[in-house]
């Protein structure tokens, strides 16, 4: 196998006396989908925030494309090619669909040397991206506060599919989606991975993990409690890892 896309080496995170992460090590290859599982409070979201630049680890190091990597802000992670979809949606409901899609990456043209938003170009891009994904939203100029939960999540998902990058982190992306939309979302993930993009998806739903992931990583009490290929394990075995009855392939503890 080629060199991994992202390597986590003994990442820890303390909040005062509380050890949220006690030494996480695993790696993600290009085009691989890794499902990150674990009970509530196991440290999954903390880990995602560290990779995405929202939090700094207490110790440990990361290699991204073989180079030492530590994002100090989401902007740095984004510049390196890491896209994140958070559990609590990252949309500004007071602006329209187009503005959200292009948040922080607006297309501009110069008027008298001043950058001016090119609304028409942006709207065309968004219309194409949503059409490709089969998402229907009545008007792209509708403010997001007037859209349903499912439509909002669809915007987030389409946004990451469109911008792609090299690594995508998804923190419970399907929480508000219906059955059909979830299926489409899972298809999107496979499609993104087939372009050589690494995907980390946090989920609570075992069935989803087995549907989409190549590899399953289980975190329990801040350490890796299991790291197995999907086709070499079963939902029951994974549940045992999550609840702590077995420690198959456990990472370093403490």
């Amino acid at each position: 196998m080629s060199e991994p896309l992202l390597v986590l080496d003994n990442i820890t995170k303390n909040y005062g006396a509380i050890h949220a992460l006690r030494g996480i090590s695993f790696s993600i290859a290009r085009g691989e989908v890794v499902a990150l599982l674990g009970d509530n409070g196991a440290g999954k979201s903390t880990l995602v925030k560290i990779i995405a630049g929202g939090l700094e680890p207490t110790s440990g190091r990361m290699l991204f494309e073989g180079k030492e990597f530590l994002a100090k802000s989401p902007a740095e992670a984004k510049a390196a090619g890491i896209e994140t979809v958070y559990q609590d949606l990252s949309l500004c409901t007071n602006v329209d669909v187009v503005a959200n899609f292009f948040m922080g990456r607006e297309i501009t043209r110069k008027v008298l040397g001043v950058p001016v938003l090119d609304e028409r170009a942006m709207e065309a891009v968004v219309a194409r991206a949503l059409a490709n994904a089969g998402t229907r939203i009545p008007s792209l100029r509708t403010k997001v506060e007037h859209l349903s939960g499912g439509q909002r999540q669809a915007i987030e998902l389409n946004r990451f599919v469109h911008w792609g990058g090299k690594l995508v982190l998804l923190d419970e992306p399907f929480a508000a989606l219906g059955v059909e939309q979830t299926r489409r979302g899972l298809d999107m993930i496979r499609q993104v991975a087939s372009q050589g993009i690494g995907v980390v998806i946090i989920t609570h739903i075992m069935q989803q993990a087995f549907q989409v992931a190549d590899r399953i990583v289980v975190i329990r009490q801040g350490v890796v409690a299991g790291d197995v290929a999907r086709n070499k394990t079963s939902p029951d075995a994974v549940i045992n890892m999550i609840t702590g009855e077995t420690l198959a392939g456990a990472g370093p503890a403490g």
Binding site: A52, G54, S73, P74, A75, K78, A79, T84, Y86, L89, S90, L91, C92, T93, N94, V95, A99, M103, G104, R105, E106, T108, V114, P115, V116, L117, E145, H146
Partner: protein, 331 residues
């Protein structure tokens, strides 16, 4: 509801304050003798220039989800700085520059600079210390006004240099240049807010700061710029105020802050952030100014003004809540 009626309704809701302004002007014209004349309308625009400029800066930071209570004191300090340097009587030093017109850019730069410095202090403290903008700028509101008293010793400066006063006297199409400066500011900042990435980012920061941070927008930098702009714009308001009064007194502009808040809220800016446009704010400013003018014309005691302004703010807030319910029904 057909899409057409829906669109018309949205348009009315978005520009409600303009309809209110037209309505109020029409009512005043019909019922108040001598109201309906060009000079009165010009007077409404003219009288609103200082308040208008100040409201722009205030609106910018409120739209970005924060607050700046210091704009009134900042305007007073800028006016006092200009007054002390370029006034010839009172505590004025009567500084002369040659050629005379040079006093205009120099005084303007001083006014803007004073405002920008206080804006930097406000912005950096709010972003770095992560304290509420309300508290930080309340402190500035107090200490900056204190500074005005300190530098003036409680006395006033009179007789501003004629080269600077020229802006308040010279008229273009019936309006003094100071009014045109205010109108120009509204046009420029409306365009910035609506059409540039910076403006778009401010609106989005006001809507959901976390989301914009995660999207890689440099939130802190944008917020500091917004506070610097608010300060500098307040400085410009102070410059206009000094021209208007041909000098500066220690209690110059007291009470303007609340009028600015009223104008911003009436103009449709939500104090929760993320909602509002600058043309709306200008309509709010004109509305307040029109009511003041009407009170003057009717010969009511000026003390009524404040009561009416207060009720108007209350009405604006209630109207905002009402608009929200209508919008929810529309969606």
């Amino acid at each position: 509801m057909s899409p057409r009626t829906r669109r018309i309704l949205e348009l009315v809701l978005d520009n409600l304050v303009w309809f209110m302004l037209v309505f109020v002007l029409a009512v005043f014209s019909a019922f108040i003798p001598n109201f309906f004349q060009l000079g009165i309308f010009a007077n409404i625009v003219e009288a609103s220039s200082v308040l208008g400029v100040m409201s722009i800066g205030l609106a910018l930071v409120i739209i970005a989800g924060h607050m700046d209570l210091s704009v009134e004191s900042v305007a007073a300090l800028s006016a006092m700085a200009v007054g002390i340097m370029f006034c010839s009587s009172g505590i004025g030093l009567g500084l002369q520059l040659h050629p005379n017109w040079l006093m205009v850019p120099v005084s303007l730069a001083i006014a803007l600079g004073v405002g920008a410095i206080i804006g930097v202090i406000n912005g950096v403290l709010i972003v770095k210390v992560r304290m509420s903008a309300f508290i930080i700028t309340l402190a500035s509101y107090i200490w900056v006004r204190g500074l005005v008293l300190v530098v003036s010793g409680g006395r006033s400066a009179q007789d501003l240099a004629p080269a600077i006063r020229w802006f308040g006297i010279q008229r273009l199409a019936g309006l003094p240049l100071t009014a045109w400066i205010a109108i120009g500011c509204f046009v420029v900042f409306s365009l910035i807010l609506a059409k540039t990435p910076f403006g778009r980012h401010l609106v989005m920061i006001g809507g959901n700061e976390t989301a914009t941070f995660r999207a890689g927008i440099r939130v802190n930098r944008n917020l500091v710029i917004a506070f610097v702009l608010a300060g500098a714009i307040a400085g410009l308001a102070g410059w206009l105020l000094a021209i208007r009064t041909s000098g500066a007194t220690a209690n110059l502009g007291v009470g303007l802050l609340f009028n600015a808040f009223a104008a911003v809220v009436i103009g449709g800016v939500s104090l929760k952030g993320g909602v509002g446009t600058l043309p709306g704010v200008y309509a709010g400013v004109l509305l307040l100014s029109a009511i003041n003018t009407a009170i003057n014309l009717m010969g009511l005691p000026a003390n009524f003004t404040q009561v009416i302004h207060g009720l108007l703010v209350l009405a604006a807030v209630l109207l905002d809540a009402f608009k929200q319910t209508i919008r929810q029904k529309l969606a």
